[in-house]
Structure formats: structure tokens, C-alpha cells
Amino acid sequence: MASSVGDINWLIGGPQGGGINVAAETFAKALTHGGYRVYAYIEYHSNIVGKHSYYRVRISDADRRSTLSRVHVLVSLDEETLVGDTHHEFPAHRGHVHEVVPGGAVVYNSRVGFKPGRDDLRLYPVPYAELLELALKEFGREAERNRFRVVQNVIAVAASAAVLDFDLKALTDVILEGFKGRRAEAAAINIRAAELAYEYIKTHFPDDFPYRVTALARRNGRRPLLVRGVQAAAIAKIKAGLGFQTYYPISPATDENVYLEAHQRRYGFVVVQTEDEVSAINMAVGAAHAGVRAATSTSGPGFTLMAEGIGFASMTEAPGPVVFLWQRGGPSTGLPTRQEQADLRFALQPAHGEFSHIVVAPGDVEEVVHDAYVAFNWAERYQLPVIVLLDKHLAAAYVTLDDLDLDDLPPADRGLYYSPDGQPESAYLRYAFTETGISPRTVPGTEGGIFWTTSDEHDPRGHITEGAENRVKMVAKRMKKLEVAAQEIPLDVKLKVYGPADADYTVVGWGSTKGAILDAIDELSAEGIRINFIQVRLMRPFPAAELKELLSRANNLILVEENYSGQLGGLIAEQTGMAIPSKILKWDGRPFTQEELVEGLKRVIAGGPATLTVSHLQA
């Protein structure tokens, strides 16, 4: 087993729709199989073909949960990856060369006349097309060079693997796995191209690149998982007994839905693509009332259209649905494929009036599994809609895990049912007043269990009434359920604390920034700074008392969020009356890298400005 690789950041860039995902994910998988822990994340445009996309793969022998700014190996599939789009009136970026560490590698097509503009790089010009031609020739398929153009990606990846001295076989094994069924014939060509590229590097360049990923042995003999949030969420939902899922296509939620669609036959649930999100939520509410576990998935623009249906579900005390809100850059259509944590405030009050619902925000893949699963228990136990608040970062980032542990999840809890046996039908009150606010339900089709329900204010039987006394009690009944939930939900699902209890600095954050925060406090702790992290998970009912207690004991509070206004900070102030004096905010559509956050925290610790804006540019 090799010694620690530390952290190596590999970045591949190229035009959207040109196979960059496959290239990066193939490499990430090979690394995982090789025993490394990877954290891989893609940036791409809301475009089908042509715009600049890049994929970072962070390679480590320890678990990392964030991306790095500094690049050790840059692999470019096109010129824009190197120099950016600075010829535009309003350029969007200036390429990635400036991100490469001194002594770092740049692998690129030797046909590109590349002038790095700095002399501390190791350049690896590789004749992509010529190597492809060689490979094709061996199979007598030169004529199909256009069809096989995408194999140049494999060449670039294999070349970079050679630079890093990564085991070629580990790479080609994964390539082979990727070509199943009728595509198998292409595997040999790809593998041959990889070999040629690998050889090319080994032959033409000295084998002394300082960063190396000479394969590690596998931990406990088993291949680890490479998993991202959309998969984790979907698997947890299936495990939770999902019966009915609706969706209208929208990034970044679509992948979860595509995954579920592919498995509906196997597990016997139904996925419906609706005509819009209004339909998606209302169908799901109908299904929930009918007695199945129902869900829908969307992002901000679609969620805004679900507002009405969420209020309706809550008013009628439907046992669901569970709404998966994968945040992306807003407002409005915004940045469809980019990261932001700016829907918290809206998720807390997504429609007019006052009603009960639960909002939970997992911070990593393990919590995604847990929260996606228990959300269905909550929905049925408390008879209300539950929002699981996720984001593009969680959706897209691949992380290495040894396993997904579903055994510790609580059993299914379907809440209270009314049993009609022997009682006259008139005895059943769907909205009976109870101590907990929860009224036993029946499932339509049950004899003796007929009920009525309406989005208007209603009496215990579910008929419309505008009486003042009933009104006062019904509102309180519905809201009471939240208090009960607050009592019953375990503390560590509400809040988590990482790091020393008596730290000098306390970071407060939520959701997917968790990874960068943990990595950053690791780094700072190693430098001797005593810093910890309070992660807020349950947003509604809000753990105000528990958090206040923690915050009052903390020394210097620092809020970290990926939005403009510090929404969690506002929520904490509202709920606890405590303002967090320092804020590190980022709203450029990209998640914090570890360095950006470390740098930000250091500036705050050094007495920097109260509100610090971090952007991709400044790192």
C-alpha cells in the first residue's frame, strides 16, 4: 500500500455534450476501484451542446467532501478550457490554466497552439487525433473517425492517468464495464486508444511528476461505492415504500426522476411525468390522500408553482406528499445548472396563510438517505407535507462511500388509522380534535370510513364552516402537530455539532456547505485554530431552544451560506433573537471550494469585515 497521496485535484474541461461527464466519471470510478477516495463535481451550462463545462475530481486517501480550487492536473479537451472566452463582449471565464499549481500538469491537444503565459507548468501536449487514428487503424476503422471522435476524451484521460502514474489496467477495466450490450464492440477501440495515450506519455515525458496516484489496496477488500445525492435520494425513497412519484422535467431534479423511472417496474411504483408542476403536486396530494406514499421532485421554479398545492395538502392534512426541492441558482429561471442555497426562506413559507409542514435540509449523502427516508414517516405520522431541501451540489457531487447503510433506519410509521369496526359511520370524524392535533385517518375505499375534505376551513367532519370557534380550534389543531413533531424528532436530526465543544470559533451552516465546512475546519484545526461547526438540519419545526443554548455557549459565531442574504442567519435571528455577527456568503453559482472557505474563515478570524463575499474569482 502506497503512502498518503494527500490531495490531488484533477480537472477536465471541454464543450458540453462532448462526453466530458463520461470521461470524468470513468476516471473517478477507476480511482475508487483503485482504492482512492474521490470527490467529483461538474460545472456546466444550461445548454445542450457546445458551452464550456468542467469536471473536478479530487483524489485523496482520506474522505473529502468538497472540491479544491487549486488544480494539479488540468486536462483540456478544447481551447476554451485553457484560455477562456475572453473574446466575448462579456466573458464568462478566463480558462483554468491560472488555477494550476506551480509544477502542475496541463494535458492538451498538441494541435492547439497553446501559450500558457507562465513558465512554472509541466506541459503535456498530446496528439489526440493522431493517437485516435492509430487506434482506429489497428481495427481498420479509420473511415469512422468522426463517429469515434469522442474517443479523444479517453485519450486525454488516459494521458493524464499516465502523468499521475495511475494503473492503466484499473482504468481500462472501468472503460470495459462502460460498454455493455450493443456498444461492446466499441470497448476494444477505446481501450486501445487509452493504451496508446498512456504509452505516449510514458515514452515522451519524464516519469517524475510530483503528484502520483499509484494504486492503493482496496479497503476491506470490497469495492466502495461512488454515489451522488440524486441516487441516494432515489434509493432511500424506494426503500421507504414510495408508491407514487410525479415530476415535470427540471434541472437539477431530473436525474432523480430518471433514476426512479428506470426502477418503477422492478419495485412496483408509478412515476408520472406531468404537464407542469401544479399538476405534479396535486396528483401527488391526491395519491397521498388515497393512501400511498407519494412524492414529487423539483427545483426552485417548479417549487414556486407547487406553492398552492403545498398549502392545500397541509390544509386538508394529507399524509404527504414529500417534496424534494433541489435548489439551484435563482431567482426566476436564474442559473439552471448552478449551485445556490437561496430557497430556504421560501421553503419555510411557500404559500399564503399559516399552515404546518416540515422542512429538513440534509448536508451530505448519508443524511440525504436518512432524511429522504424518514420524511415519509413524518408525512404520514403528522399528516402534512414534508419538504426535503437539497441542492445542485448534493445532487451532482460524486463521493466515495464504503456502503449505504439502510439498516439503522427506523421502521415505516404510517401514523394513526381509524378503525370503523362496529361503529356507526357518523361516529367517524376525519378532523377530530385530539390532544396532539393528529386525527386518525382512513383510506378511501374503507367501509365505514367515509370522510369529506376541503381546502376551505372545515369542521371535524370535513364540511365547510366559517364559525369562529371551530376556526380558532382548527388552526391551532393543525399547528399543534408541529409542536408534537418538534418533541418527537431526535436532537441529532435537528442539529449536529462537529469539533471541540469549547472552540474559539463556531461556524454555523446548513445543507451542502457542510462538506466544505468540515474540510476547512479540519485544515484550520491542523493549523492549531480551535474551531467547530454547528449544522442546522431541521428548519421547521425549528429547534430554537436547542440552538439558542448552543449559540449562547459559543465564542465567535461565523455564518456560512451560499446565498446573498444569509437566510439561515435571518431564521436564527427570528427564532432565537440572536444575530450572528460574521457572515461568509457566496452567490456566484459555484459551491465553496475548501480553499475559498479556509481563506474566508482566516480573514474573519483576522478581524475581517462582518460580511465577507466569497466568489469563485477571488480564490
Binding site: G445, I450, I464
Partner: protein, 314 residues
């Protein structure tokens, strides 16, 4: 032990609550027709779900002894679709106003036609927004002015029958609220029809619609006092597609239905305009092995083994 054969009477479909519709409202007729149809078909009340939008019409479920869902304005079809797919053993009836269905709900009206889920959708077409005090609904003719409107209607009316055929409903009919027996028959046929059945019901609103009143429909204003309504089935009109796989027959029958839908004024057809037997969405999902015979709501999905999904990620 003898099996008790329960026979449901009309009163078994009546909820124990008073309606708050205006005296003489056509909604009473539609309510009675729904109850008659259910009784005729002997659907046990607890196997029925009546869903509605918001409006005077939206109050209907409260008056029927059956599972009752008075949902949101314009959203009854998505709701009913979800309910039906989750429990396909239920008889699902969706009702709503013309504002509800063709105005705010127009997108759902059209798109539900694409699915052919086995449910019955009944629109209470009174040409006005009843519950909000008489504004023009999408079925009110351009230039018309009811007593509650300050100006003549500047927007054109839509043609519900033509739209329903164009959208793909497999049963398309029109009824009259005050011809309860005939309407009850139509509703019974619609419920029996496998697929999305649509009935546009001409409904009198004595409070706001002083143009198309009971008297007008029944022709009491005409010299011979001859009703303006006539029954398609009495003219030999044949709305039923015999061979659903024959696109030519489908086209001819659809066009005939649409042609009929343009008749208005002195002679207004009621009855079934179009019917075709096509696989329902449930059938298609069953054919794919996605949906089983047992309704989703009665399956036990809590013992699923997801190991294979996890292993696939290694």
C-alpha cells in the same frame, strides 16, 4: 353463513348536510343525476371518490355520501388522477365549474385528455363564475352580457366538446342539468366507460345567468314552446367507434362529433358525441408491468430489498 346482498338506495348516496346553493340552481339537478347514476350502478358509496374544484359546483362532494375531496380551483383533474392511479379500485368522479375547468384549469383539462385515466369528469357549464358573483366564464359568448356584468364580454367562448375531442378524451358527452334522468343515464355510461369520460353539462344559474335560463333551454319563449334541446341518440347519431384500430373510423367519428358541437341556438344536441375504447393509462402501466392488479394503496412496499441498487454503484 349467508352472504348479505346489500342493495343501495338513493338515500345511501346522500350526505347528511344541507346544500347552500341558490333556490332553483341547476346544480341540484346534476347532484341528483350523479346520485342516480351511482345508485343505478350500485357502486358502494365507500368505493366512490367525488373530487371537485372551487366554485358553487365545487361544493358538490359535500352533498354526496362518498369519499369527498373539495380541492383547489382548477386542479381537480390532477388530484383525481393521482387518487385514481393510487387506488384504481375506486370509482372516481371529478366535478367543477366552467371557470374551474376551462379557465384556470384549461391546461389540466387538455392534458388529462392525453392520459385516458379511467375517471369521469363533469363540468357544470353555467357560462358564469357563480361563486365570485357572475363574471363571464370561458363558455360565455363574445358580446354577451349577463345581468351581473358591467360590460359585454370581449372574449370569445371556447367549444368544450371540440377541445375534449382534440385533447383525446375517449368519451365525450353533453347533458342538461334539468333533465336529470337523461343526465343520470349519461353519467352512468360515463362511469361504465373505461377511460377518461367527459360530460359538459348545460347548467342554469338563475342568480347570474339571465340569458341561458331554464325557459330558454326549454324553448318556453318560442311560439311553439319547443325545447331547444334535442337528444343525439334520438336522431340516429352514432358516436361509438367500432374499430379503435381503424384511424379512418376514428377520424370520421371525431369529425362528426366536432361538427355536431357547432350546433347551437335553435337546436342544441345533448347526449354522447364520441366514444372510443382505448387502453387506459392504468392498462398501459399494467402492460409494462409497472402497475399490478392490486391497487398501489393496498400493496405492502415496506419490505423492498434495494441491495442490487446499491451494488450497482460500486
Amino acid at each position: 353463513m349467508a352472504i348479505e346482498l346489500k342493495v343501495y338506495e338513493l338515500k345511501d348516496y346522500r350526505a347528511d348536510i344541507h346544500s347552500d346553493w341558490c333556490p332553483g340552481c341547476g346544480d341540484f339537478g346534476i347532484l341528483a343525476a350523479i346520485q342516480q347514476a351511482l345508485q343505478r350502478l350500485q357502486v358502494p358509496p365507500h368505493r366512490v371518490a367525488v373530487c371537485s374544484g372551487i366554485g358553487c359546483s365545487g361544493k358538490t362532494p359535500h352533498y354526496i355520501r362518498a369519499y369527498g375531496f373539495h380541492t383547489l380551483h382548477g386542479r381537480v383533474l390532477p388530484f383525481a388522477t393521482g387518487l385514481k392511479l393510487a387506488n384504481h379500485d375506486l370509482t372516481v368522479i371529478a366535478v367543477g365549474g366552467d371557470g374551474d375547468g376551462y379557465g384556470i384549469g384549461a391546461g389540466y383539462f387538455i392534458n388529462a385528455g392525453r392520459r385516458n385515466v379511467d375517471l369521469t369528469y363533469i363540468v357544470f357549464n353555467n357560462e358564469v363564475y357563480g361563486l365570485t358573483k357572475g363574471q363571464a366564464a370561458p363558455t360565455l359568448a363574445q358580446g354577451a352580457k349577463t345581468k351581473s356584468m358591467p360590460e359585454e364580454n370581449v372574449q370569445q367562448a371556447i367549444n368544450p366538446i371540440a377541445l375534449a375531442v382534440g385533447a383525446g378524451y375517449t368519451f365525450v358527452a353533453r347533458g342538461f342539468a334539468l333533465d336529470v334522468k337523461h343526465l343520470g343515464d349519461l353519467i352512468a355510461r360515463a362511469i361504465t366507460h373505461r377511460g377518461s369520460a367527459f360530460i359538459d353539462v348545460l347548467q342554469t344559474c338563475p342568480t347570474y345567468n339571465d340569458i341561458h335560463t331554464k325557459e330558454w333551454f326549454l324553448g318556453l319563449d318560442r311560439p311553439g314552446r319547443q325545447s331547444r334541446l334535442y337528444r343525439l341518440e334520438e336522431t340516429g347519431f352514432d358516436p361509438v367507434v367500432k374499430n379503435p384500430d381503424d384511424p379512418e373510423e376514428v377520424r370520421v367519428k371525431q369529425l362528426a362529433a366536432i361538427a355536431k358541437s357547432y350546433e347551437w341556438g335553435d337546436r342544441i344536441p345533448i347526449g354522447v358525441f364520441y366514444q372510443v375504447s382505448l387502453p387506459t393509462l392504468e392498462d398501459r402501466l399494467r402492460a409494462k408491468g409497472i402497475l399490478g392488479e392490486v391497487p398501489l394503496a393496498r400493496t405492502d412496499p415496506f419490505r423492498r430489498d434495494v441491495t442490487e441498487l446499491i451494488e450497482a454503484l460500486r
